[in-house]
Symmetry: C2
Subunit: 165 residues, 2 copies
DNA sequence: GTTATTGCAAATGATTTGCACAAGG
DNA sequence: CCTTGTGCAAATCATTTGCAATAAC
């Protein structure tokens, strides 16, 4: 885990006159233990492995803090769940491609997209703040060969498959 | 309202072996009575004006049908509500810009964005299906002059302001 | 010590569902 | 008729909140 993370949350917490607690550290560590996306419930499960008495409520409350501090971003993958993405610290402008065949999420960066969207925003008379691009797409390999090997997946992060409801 | 809408839903409904009902017609008409975005509850309110005995359940069920039929698209504006957009029939590839100052939603089309995203998708080995771009931005007029006149709003659709929770 | 934090359980709010009755074809 | 649609109320699911006990600082 990037050591910068705990430090940044600490700074944020102090500035708001709040307190650093063991519980919060546990939750932050759990959130950034991998680069995978997660839901509140998945994070709760991870936290429970370290601290069996942790409560869902505290996980939710700490999630809000992490989002407010800019460590985590809420993303919408289309599965009726809030999903949290811990990779915006390393890749502040990445986007998501969701495979409609297997649900796998592929993260990618593209400066052209970012730049073009910024231009369009300015032309409309606004000051760009944040952009969220989700591309839904089918696997071309699957369509042609009947298999979805996700060849590029190992080179990219955001590997969580969509969960059934 | 575009007369094509009722026809398209009718075709879709027949194909699934379902039935065209007065209730569904009322709900579809309400959904497409303006080009404004709406939530399930807002649609329910509109429907109630025509048929005071209509139920929320039927509105929800018909919403699912309309989305499945491709008449309506669910969009996520960041206010923890599902919002429905009736403008994808006329503008199949439009995007949304949400003003972080007043919450106003501006719809816009840009073929460059569409094309670029398609290229990126293909380069990653996928077949483009759908793209969802949400831009959050601040009003430049507001920042400079202290007012947010939304000058362009009258030329564009998607005028619903964000509701407080 | 004073104030923020936590866990619990109850509350909330949007959406879904089971069921008996109504209506389309 | 026979099957699908509807309204109602109850159920569900993720998330939030009130509160008394607990922990920061």
């Amino acid at each position: 885990m990037d050591p910068e993370v705990l430090e940044r949350l600490d700074t944020f917490i102090r500035k708001k006159g709040l307190r650093r607690t063991g519980q919060r550290d546990v939750i932050v560590r759990a959130a950034f233990s991998t680069d995978e996306h997660f839901t509140a419930d998945e994070l709760f499960d991870r936290v429970r492995k370290t601290d069996a008495s942790a409560s869902r409520a505290t996980v939710y409350r700490t999630l809000l803090l992490m989002v407010e501090a800019g460590l985590l971003r809420e993303i919408e993958l289309g599965d009726n769940h809030k999903t949290y993405d811990p990779n915006f610290i390393e890749k502040p402008a990445h986007n998501h491609l969701v495979c409609i065949d297997c649900g796998r999420v592929t993260e990618f960066e593209d400066t052209h997209i970012e730049l073009l969207n910024d231009c369009v925003t300015r032309r409309l008379g606004f000051r760009p703040v944040r952009q969220t691009l989700k591309i839904e797409a089918g696997c071309e390999q699957l369509r042609l060969k009947g298999r979805c090997p996700n060849l590029i997946a190992t080179r990219l992060s955001g590997k969580r498959l969509r969960k059934k409801r």
